[in-house]
Symmetry: D2
Subunit: 306 residues, 4 copies
């Protein structure tokens, strides 16, 4: 049945493949073929359904923030919320205005500033290499796939052009909300964003969020059921930057997007869905990817809102 759904979704979005603008702030992203489209569904029963370019790795970018948040909560628990808020920001993903108004505390862990704080939490007491090793190992483990890697070219490009992120990190350091040297924290952040994963890998890696914190079936727990619920809640309210309300309205499922054109969605109790289409809409989220998820929600009737 889910294969049928994927086929229907594909039929719906086919005329729209290639729409939107591919991110072009670094060459490694700018040269991606805009006609790529992949989608994968990992169910709580352990099934995997795919369509299109679902096995081709792409730069997951901000989708990685879900995984680093999970790790950071494991590391410092709810104390994390002293350093980062849980509210939608009402401003673009890279805005610095809110930081000045709220004295260096980012509004949530999914805007850039918040994810940089999360990276800083993971770095404390470690070297960047160790922290990146831990992130990579975690993602490989939850995706059950040791092939997952960080794209060093992308990371290097990000580092060379990431002046707004450097501004955010320095600004928060001035308010003592970055504890490690700015360049080390940014090093972790730029490398985590350069994680390269396919839709299939991403859907599997995100399954614990839909499955009460566990890997597929009755498998081992990644986090508690309560923590999985709470991460879903954050994805719903903050996962699409200043278009989170619109995504909740149109798709009705918790999701986290990345500027590489990927979106990870959680359907509690049922499945984890990953979609990839590089062209972005005006809010910086995958244009055709969002459309595919809207179609998916309609064909399955899946929604957390009824």
């Amino acid at each position: 049945m889910l294969d049928d759904v994927l086929a229907k979704v594909y039929a719906d979005i086919a005329p729209h493949i290639g729409e939107g603008r591919v991110a072009n702030y670094i060459p490694a992203l700018a040269r991606i073929d805009p006609s790529k489209f992949g989608m994968a569904i990992a169910t709580v029963d352990g099934e995997l359904h795919v369509i299109g370019d679902a096995h081709e790795p792409f730069s997951i970018q901000s989708v990685s923030k879900v995984f680093t948040l999970t790790l950071a909560l494991g590391r410092v628990g709810e104390g994390l919320w002293k350093r980062v808020g849980r509210e939608p920001s009402g401003t673009p993903f890279n805005s610095i205005i809110q930081l000045e108004n709220e004295r260096g505390i980012p509004r949530n862990p999914f805007i850039n500033a918040g994810a940089i704080v999360v990276a800083d939490v993971l770095l404390s007491g470690h070297q960047p290499k160790e922290t990146l090793g831990e992130i990579l190992q975690f993602v490989r483990q939850i995706a059950d796939d040791d092939e997952i890697a960080i794209d060093r070219d992308v990371a290097r490009s990000e580092q060379e052009t990431g002046f707004r992120n450097a501004a955010l990190a320095n600004y928060m350091h001035a308010f003592s909300n970055i504890e490690n040297p700015v360049e080390k924290t940014l090093g972790v952040y730029f490398h985590q964003c350069a994680l390269s994963m396919s839709c299939a890998q991403l859907a599997k890696a995100g399954l614990f969020l839909a499955n009460g914190g566990r890997l597929a079936g009755r498998g081992p727990s990644v986090v508690s059921a309560e923590r999985a619920r709470r991460i879903n809640a954050l994805m719903l309210t903050c996962g699409h930057y200043d278009a989170s309300g619109d995504f909740a309205f149109r798709v009705g499922l918790p999701g986290k997007s990345g500027v590489g054109g990927g979106i990870l969605v959680s359907v509690p109790g049922k499945a984890s869905v990953a979609v990839w289409s590089p062209g972005l809409n005006e809010n910086g989220n995958s244009a055709t990817g969002t459309r595919a998820l809207e179609s998916f929600a309609r064909h399955t009737g899946w929604s957390i809102f009824g």
Copy 2:
């Protein structure tokens, strides 16, 4: 079983009754007894479970915005979204800054500016009395209770002190986003906020949101299932002003709060819950009411996030 839940919730919150600060910007609200507490659950099977002061009417204030939004969508359909957005605001309920930055388009229908636009939509082509009659009739019908009334004293007090709301309305009029005379639109708005309802009435009135758009059981449809889902989505992302993210994180259910201390919550597929406790927390939401809903979510395990 739900009676047991209510008893457990009551035991949890009993030590906290009276906490928070009662709204005091108008005398009619300031003199409310802060030790009031009521809670009601209306299930999709048509059952009603109550505890405490669940049959005592209180001023529902901004909870009314859910009902006027439902009516306005029925009147103008999705065209409403040309005049009001669907994104969390990142600012307090009565902020005017966002309106200047976004040229008179309020961020969502649940902040004051957005609800004033919704009132303006309902007023167009009518006199305020007719519009208020329509609102009242709608609420009585979905709550199946003709006793529900508007508290004229509260409405008059609001009108006399509502200068920030008058500023919002005039400001939007300057951008042609209020179409009727400002004082008429505000008249509708202040009166809708003065609706007086008990927890029991409120839970019944909100049931259609949890029940696929229908009154209890297989009863008549108030709205389509899709519209009910979408209103739930808006409640989740925007229903608690600038604490919506926190409410989603802690309670995990769509809800709309009012400054009178009431909160209406929707549990899709299961029930509608109303709680009332007049003391407010620093975000202007019921302090003990929020605590009760958190306890309720824990005891039932109900959450839209897994």
Copy 3:
């Protein structure tokens, strides 16, 4: 010699007459002939030099704020500064953002919000008619011209379209910084802005600012020398809204502009200058009027900065 200067200025600006956009938010302003240009210089010795349409009355609009500020300082003295600041705003003339950030205290008496507070100060203890009578009498006296009048058509139009000003007034009332009924305060404000004066009248009326607070020569004092200096300081830092810095840089003299295309400039110790050209630049100040004053400053060598 000043006649020569006026001739040179006129030659400089002649190719630019008609540039800019005439204010069109009310019909009475929109129908003004954009090719009008007048200029008048009233010297501290009592001479008057004019060129062009210097005897044709126009709507002085915000230039009136200099006169009402003078009156209000006479009424309540330096206590005025509890209700209005003395800093440039960094925002447009009709912005409301600053009011929210600074709890209803306008940044200075020359932005709209500040001038509305000044009108409210003048109104206290009086009826609008009396206050307007007092303003009119004051302007007639300092201009030594009983012909000066308020244009009722302009005032009525302003009142019908002044929703942003109504927003400002209501907003400040919410913070108790408007003490009279909003509509009365706005009535005074809209009528003062509708004062109709020629360049010749305006230059004479403003002379006390250049002449140590006195009417021409050793005439009677309107205000103390210190107060005249301080009003000049406010004109320099705040008299051209968010282009005040640029005007100080280019012209180097204290000035106050109005949306009717008039500008009043003070040359301490020497003269008062009024210019009128209806077309406005992107900051809402007279385009050719500003150019004329720049030329005037160059030809006279007059500047307060050396």
Copy 4:
């Protein structure tokens, strides 16, 4: 006569010596004796009048922005204004909000962001050492004093703690408004702020602003008379951050303050005045220094406003 004035000023401010809070963000500033007070007047006739600790060097900090602006205008002329504005900011000296709203163009050359752009202009085509050498040589020349030096301890401390300035520089680099490597531009900026000068040296160095661009008397020109006027205009509208309006209102003279407690004031046609008192008021300007200048303006009757 100016010696008498200085004596009267000293008598006026004596009871207030030590008021305000000494800047404590770096140890080198925090340990300054708060009871220091010095004042110097350099007249256009070449006289020097001093009182108190007028020959003791202190960290001139932001007063240096006047000198680097002068140099940058000499280097690139009016083209500078493509990269930095000329308007008061309406926000604190280190605010980043305005930069986001105005796409990386600082409002004026005297807020930190603007001065960093000015430093970047001076650095282009040079190494930091060369640029600092040029700045130092310029200041020594206009002050006619080769003893003037940069305090390396202060510069190093600034560099170690200057995260907000690093945020500003990175942010502007993202908008291509910083052209050199951020750390080099900041290196120049932090060192220029660490210039150590006495009131006597500072008054002499600033004299060209009061003297039509020339050193004392009919000496050689530093800048044209017009440029001197324009720098004075910028000092008046922007020289005291978000208290510039207040300084213009109370003192009535163009001035530039620094967080080290120094203020440089220009009296066009007459003199240059420098004052030093380390305790700062809530706006970050010297508390007793401002008071001394107010007293000075009163006793001399000197004001650019009449």
